[in-house]
Amino acid sequence: MDVDGSQARMAAFLRDHQDKIVGRWSELVVAGVRGRSSVVEARRELEDIYSLIIAVMSGPGEAGPGEQARVELRAVLAEFSRSRARSGFAPGETALGVFSLKEAVYELIADAADLMPEFLAFSRLIDNLGLYTFESYAAARERIITDQATSMLELSTPVVRLWDGIIAVPLVGTLDSARTQLVMEKLLETLVATGADHAVLDITGVPTVDTEVAQHLLKTVNAARLLGAECTVSGIRPQVAQTIVSLGIEFGDIATKATLADALAHALSRAGLKVGPA
């Protein structure tokens, strides 16, 4: 079978029926995403892709303008998938955007039975493009997830100044090795930068304390001690206290307090300060 010839015939067919096919395609896409974008909007996006598909099919196979169109088409599809991933479309809905072109063309071509081999070649191209869309979508999603994880890590470890020479680290969420490392580094850097000699580690927002978490906390306190700062652990909830005791975790000579307020009072008294009625 003359592949280039049949592709060129298909390209000619697509060009002749452009208006009809793109119209039907847009309708199918909009129906597929349950009306989350309008037909006009979809049409604008799809027209670009459509003309690039024609360029790919009418250009020669490997090199030349066909290849250039192929690269461009991939870039456009990648951008299409990325924007879909960002606006929260399902992967199926994104791939459907490409696959429904087949349906739109098939509806027209069904009458002209002599174009069947051409349609098969076309269909193979669309399948490849659909797969590519899927891959780009997955890659975009992956990147969004990594970005979110990073920003969550940054968000979740603020170091706040409570008083002159007293800083606090409110810990929220599960403590794993990566996070504790970050907390430790930030805490120590802030101690050095502010010259504070008292730090409060508030674990009110930590859901569970097991031996590993306790180990991490002890390490942080020890490192702060090496710098010459004293640490207090506060925000121990009743259940957490029970777990700590039943696991046999020893906090040694580290001061622990029930609430952040108690810890602050403790730190103030250590600094020789007293808070009283004005």
Binding site: M184, E185, E189, L191, D197, N222, G228
Partner: protein, 117 residues
């Protein structure tokens, strides 16, 4: 071999380590410090390690030993200016430098000594 200078300020010996610590340097410092403590009858030692970027387990142990030796001469040792990275390394090595007091900077170290004596 390089030597770490020991300065006497009042009744405090001030040691500022500005070089990369070699094992021999630290042993030499330990000897010098003991001699100086006897000669000056100082009551406090401040070791400033602001410029020290790498501390291994040997040097960590020697610092603890310097603390214990000073205590024999009735002098308190304060380690000041440790960098966060060094503190993290020492904790990971499981060294907590017992017997040595620590302070954020030289000023706080001096305060600590004058407050305790």
């Amino acid at each position: 071999m390089e030597r770490v200078p020991i300065l006497k300020i009042g009744s405090t010996l001030f040691v500022s380590i500005q070089i990369d610590l070699q094992d021999e340097t630290v042993i030499r410092l330990q000897e010098d410090l003991a001699t100086e403590l006897v000669a000056t009858r100082a009551t406090g030692v401040i070791i400033d390690i602001t410029a020290v970027e790498i501390v291994d387990s040997f040097i960590g142990r020697m610092l603890t030993m310097i603390g214990s030796i000073s205590r024999l001469f009735d002098a308190e040792t304060v380690l000041v200016g440790m960098r966060p990275a060094v503190a993290i390394t020492l904790t990971e090595l499981g060294l907590s430098l017992r017997g040595v007091r620590t302070a954020l900077n030289a000023e706080k170290g001096l305060e600590l000594l004058s407050g305790s004596s």
